[in-house]
Symmetry: C2
Subunit: 431 residues, 2 copies
């Protein structure tokens, strides 16, 4: 019976369809989300700031006519606390910005509000979207890190507190937490979305991201962020023709469980008639990991200006990064930028008929311990090249912990990538 | 006698040297700037908000020890009112943001403050750095437009109210006003500087810019914005080996006075032993003008989100731009991005030994009338390709009005471009 459904557990599109068909009301979904938050937030810690159920419903009822006519029907959205909101503090995970109240909404927040989404709250970010963790635990195993820096967004979505949340990625900040927590995650091509009001960390690397339960939900949110009038467009599950497999060891340290998961998936793809090829050393992925680190250090030191003068308010890893960036010769930074441009064109020249690259989203399952957010190297090559990336849940290790994989596409071919992701998702969930 | 000098008229480096040699004090320069502002601001209208002399000097004296030890010695800087300042309103030239008080300084502002610059005030910008003019007049002829959108920064620097100011460019917003007012202007390679706190208009086009009296002053400010420890580096005036001349008609409508000025300069360069070549139709510059317009419309419509809902608060040209962007097929936008990438690599492949392109900075002198800011097409090709550009004063028409030229370099070769600009400046001023 549909009425028995736990409405917080369904995806965004499924919830919207159910509301459309009057199988439930928006308030049913909202209440289910708040029930879940009340039950789980004390142990998961996904939220930096949030509306109470009363505040949320009172706002909803005040504007009920608008929400009923809207695309998102007043359903809740989580916003990473590095993204400005005019009605809630935006603290960037740092004591320096405690209580900071931005004057304006980020444009991505404005677009979600205009589409009828309600910002339920701000999700925990690591310090300035870098390494120092916040209070969030991994909802699949509270002893493990949720990953960073979009820790709260990934945990809130994976734990069914909200159907969708925004994150941002400079190194691995959407893909890794999504993979560790078992959510779907997407990072747009660099430049794909307006970053107005998304606090910058490194201008050559920063990208906006979406976390959701299903690829189709990401697709819908992306259309909203692009003001694409075809946000209710056709259902497309596109089987890729050719996929390049990236074994984890080409990028860096990888657990054997992850290497096996990628091999399993490679076999699955072949069984479905997808042609596969393999990336090799020539792709220079481990060098791209280094170039990413070079570019990030140089640029972070020139973005966190006021903050870098407040030494006692910054974590040791962030101080090290800023110091590295300040000491760096500019020629080293420029050389890294050049090498990345060349690596990107070489990659697609060598693999000109490949639709996407399949790679581990992280070295393995989420590590034990909440003091660190896990290694980011699996994302650095694609991020430094500015490619669009999707991670999907479905694979697990023997304990049932998520082993996320990622699909990286060509620049600005985000729509094709998401169409392929929807197909891959059905394969992964055996649907 | 040095003591007789009008200290507001000298360049930034010259003033700093004079302070160093105790030919004058920082307070002498500051007072000269305020004298000039008091005399001229009523007719020029360069400032949206500014400190009074008393406020400025009281702040200076409170922190005199810091300023005396600093690189910029407490000298005044103008900041375009599209760039966030924590201690002054940032209104973006729009009634929508009247009285808006940002929580934080933009990182470029923070870097200038850390180097000992004092923000004298916010300079007039057109509405959201687009077309609708503010109150500023051209200091060379008050009946003429100062150009836009960095109207106040260009007028304030050209009229000797401050030695240096920051601007930003999405289409022609630094180069054109600098050229019209007779200032030196520089736009960095896209991505060169942190844009944290610089209000975005179009993410594929926005660049930070510097306006000053001389190329060496731009060089100094750029080093500060890059946290480059060699801000007091060697004097370099590098003669270019090969320059490609871009006749204005390749880009669009050009006055004959401007075409002649470029030809005169071409002959001057040849006389100095610089090899010259000419761009031709194959460079596709008029197509780049169109691609720029396409990309700008698409992206502006996705950056000005809250604002685009306030129809009665926006000018007709801005509404048209947003409407164009919202109606546009995404495929048209993506095609424009692709064509630009190809045009940039083709340009340098065809002219692989060329150090820079010399082109008109505007179609001619500043047009009469304050209702429009002049045509921006001369900047669109270089801006859409993300190239660094410098404009220099020196050439004039028969009435003595400035005819600005610009030099466009390769991406990330900003330092080389500024070194060449310093050489070209000596040529233009006949020094």
């Amino acid at each position: 019976m549909k009425n028995q459904k736990a409405w917080h557990e369904v995806g965004l599109r499924e919830a919207l369809n159910a509301i459309e068909k009057q199988e439930c009301s928006a308030v049913d979904v909202i209440n289910a989300c708040f029930d879940r938050i009340e039950a789980r937030e004390p142990v998961v810690g996904a939220w930096q700031y949030r509306l109470t159920r009363e505040e949320y419903l009172s706002h909803y009822r005040q504007h009920q006519g608008f929400y009923e006519q809207s695309l998102l029907k007043g359903l809740p959205v989580g916003i990473k606390d590095i993204i400005d909101t005019a009605d809630m503090p935006t603290e960037m995970g740092s004591p320096i910005h405690q209580g900071r109240e931005p004057v304006n909404d980020a444009s991505c927040v404005g677009l979600i509000r205009q589409a009828g989404g309600i910002v339920l709250g701000k999700t925990v970010t690591t310090e300035f979207a870098y390494f120092k963790p916040g209070k969030t635990a991994n909802p699949r195993d509270l002893q493990r890190t949720p990953g960073g820096s979009s820790s709260g967004s990934a945990a809130a979505v994976a734990d069914a507190m909200v159907p969708v949340a925004l994150g941002s990625q400079t190194a691995a900040s959407v893909i890794r937490p999504a993979a560790y927590c078992g959510a779907a995650g997407y990072v747009g091509t660099r430049g794909e979305f307006s970053l107005r009001g998304v606090q910058p960390l490194a201008q050559s690397l920063d990208s906006l991201g979406i976390l959701a339960r299903h690829a189709e939900d990401i697709d819908l949110m992306r259309a909203i962020l692009l003001r694409n009038s075809r946000a209710n467009g056709p259902e497309i599950n596109a089987r890729p023709t050719r996929i390049a497999i990236c074994p984890g060891h080409l990028v860096g340290e990888t657990d054997s469980a992850m290497e096996h998961a990628i091999e399993r998936l490679e076999a699955l793809l072949q069984a479905e008639g997808v042609e596969t090829t393999r990336l090799d050393q020539a792709a220079g992925l481990s060098e791209l990991v280094e170039h990413h680190q070079t570019i990030m250090a140089y640029e972070v030191a020139r973005n966190l200006v006021e903050e870098s003068a407040q030494l006692d308010q910054l974590s040791a890893p962030l101080l090290d990064l800023i110091d590295k960036g300040l000491q760096m010769e500019r020629s080293e930074y420029l050389r890294a930028l050049q090498c990345v441009d060349k690596a990107r064109s070489d990659l697609w020249a060598r693999h000109d008929k490949v639709d996407a690259v399949l790679a581990p989203a992280a070295p393995g399952v989420a590590p034990l311990g909440l003091g660190k957010t896990g290694a980011p190297h699996m994302s650095r090559p694609w991020q430094v090249m500015g490619l669009p990336v999707v991670t999907l849940p479905g694979l697990t290790d023997q304990q049932g912990l998520p082993l996320g994989i990622q699909l990286a596409g060509r620049m600005h071919e985000d729509q094709k990538l998401l169409d392929m992701a929807r197909w891959l998702e059905t394969l992964l969930t055996g649907a």
